[in-house]
């Protein structure tokens, strides 16, 4: 499985492998060798690609790499296969928020017709001397709130149902 970086909206698949001197860069069907890097400071150094050396400055911020090379600034974004291969709103999550344990509704924070996104708070419940926030399992629109404030419910009871947007 290769690494992927996005530059200006275009994905580039690449891999660095060991070679006798430094590394070999595999960029799609191309092989570029040798590739090496010498640090000058924590954010600068000399990058050698196929015998040509260039000074570079860089800053890494999570998955973003800000790179200054040959008088130009560029932004590279590391594309994590775990995220690209698994969209957050994956359709396998139910359109129902169920009770994780028996309890009482303390407060409802949404009302029918309201649009919600995955992870948004729908209601707060109390159980075993502990308040728990029930969050939306999906992006969608609140269809119905089944239990009113102050009412109690059993384990696995349906608390809120959602509907898909645009239905």
């Amino acid at each position: 499985m290769h690494h992927s970086f996005e530059i200006d909206g275009v994905d580039h698949r690449l891999w660095l492998s060991n070679s006798q001197q430094g590394y070999r860069l595999h960029l799609r069907d191309q092989v570029i060798t040798p590739v090496a890097f010498t640090y000058h400071s924590e954010s600068s150094g000399i990058l050698t690609i196929a015998g040509e050396s260039e000074p570079v400055r860089f800053a890494i911020e999570g998955e973003l790499i800000h790179l200054h090379i040959r008088g130009r600034a560029r932004i590279l974004r590391y594309i994590d296969p775990l995220r690209t291969l698994a969209p957050a709103n994956d359709g396998t999550r139910p359109l129902i928020a169920r009770a994780p344990m028996p309890g009482v509704v303390v407060a409802t924070t949404v009302s029918p017709g309201q649009s919600v996104s995955a992870g948004m708070a729908l209601m707060t419940i109390e159980s075993m001397k502990l308040e728990t926030i029930i969050r939306s399992p999906q992006d969608g629109i609140v269809d119905r709130v089944h239990v009113k404030e102050g009412e109690s419910f059993e384990h696995d009871a349906v608390l809120v149902t959602l509907s898909k947007e645009g239905r």
Partner: protein, 535 residues
Amino acid sequence: MQRIGSVADVNSQAFRRNDLHNRQLAAELKERQRAARFHRPERDFERLRRQNKLFVRERVEALLDPETPFLELSTLAANKAYDGEVPGAAQVVGIGIVAGREVIVHADDASVKSGAWYPLSVKKIVRALDIAIENRLPMVHLCDCAGGFLPLQAEFFADRYHAGRILRNQSILSKMGVPQVAIVMGHCTAAGAYVPALSEYNIMVEGTGAIFLGGPPVVKAATGEQVSAEDLGGALMHTSVSGTSDYFARSEMHAIAIARDVVARFHQPAKPWIDRVAPEPPAYSASELYGIIPKDARAQFDMREIIARLVDGSRFHEYQPRYGTSLVCGFAQLYGYQVGILANNGVLFSDSSLKGAHFIQLCDKNRTPLLFLQNVTGFMVGREYERGGITKDGAKLIMAVSGASVPKFTIVCNSSHGAGTYAMSGRAFDPRFVFSWPNSQISAMGADQAAGVLTHVKARQLARVDGRLSEQELAAIREPILEQYRERSSAYYATSELWDDGILDPVDTRTALAIALSASLNAPADTPQYGVFRL
């Protein structure tokens, strides 16, 4: 260390004849391997596409780090069994690099009989797990198996090394603290269901992956309950309800990305007990091996010529060069790792056996892995040798081979017969890996001698009924015996039955040994300890 001075005459007629012959053998090997890996009826590839499944080779490739070596093992398992219809025993096994870690991969090949387990498939999986245990290699299982091939269940179900051993070995591996990751890419049914369940981590692919003890038809037959595969044991159910599986994956590639992320956090063992120096290529070209290995298996050749084309700088520190000369012993470096080499230069005598036993103890004490290069027709027979104690001296060598606690590696270079097979660290003596060359022959006795003995026995039985047999009649008995014997002592038969871990093109031996050696160093070496030597 001195460089071996090769005396091979690369321009001689014999060299050229051997070269031509062995290149043909290597080409034939490559072709058979290619066919076993990729040659499938188009309808099987179509079925995989329809099921939204990748071909096993694509799965393995995606799992491994790009541009890293993969030492595939037993590619030609089952090539002489089941009418050749189960290439590779429907399994892909090999040692490779995943997220920078050395791992052993085991993958069911659903393009062959839907990945059904045949007796030799089970043998190959058990062997893969044995390798994981012996070398403490983390393991990745790519599960896509339709279940056992029931017509042959008597040959893979109930015995000690049958399918139950897969689950037992998985449990032992876990007990040793060596992790396993399984990806469920097809149905894992019955015993197959436990493969992901016994792995420390497992991932299920939505839609195609399923785990259940009995599939929907079995459930219907047993209780009348009608249930879909997805509902009975699909990815969503097992990752959110039963807890049988750990990670839910949208696709095979997603599952592989998760597996790589899991392996990336495995502990990387240090390999502190062995010295390593900078590696160096041999001074002689490996391709000259083709001209050195004789076309006629009976022709003698100097094993130093082989060693010169395997080891770093072709340098070899020979131990006791003037004593027991039919067994060449000495130290060399292979990709910078020191190894002790034992190589046959003829039949084993008392002195060569004593030398070998002593050299093994010496290597064991100084923590040097052992490399056995086999070209052995056996121990010397005859009155003089029995009186000289050939059997008790052979016993010393066997005791030393069995007891050595450093990793052992065995290459069947040419002949491997009789007790010589055993004394030179044959399969039964648990070398970490055994590889054969395509020209090699392995059997209890040489083909001609065995055919002679068997013909003699048969002729005597027949003679009791009909009187004497003519020369033609004798030949008619002898030929089929010889033919079958030759077939069953060939490298292809040996690898079909998993007596080795694969056939190597001789020029690849150095690289294969380097990967095997590096893999073996994941396990610490026990302190040397031996049984009673008959002195």
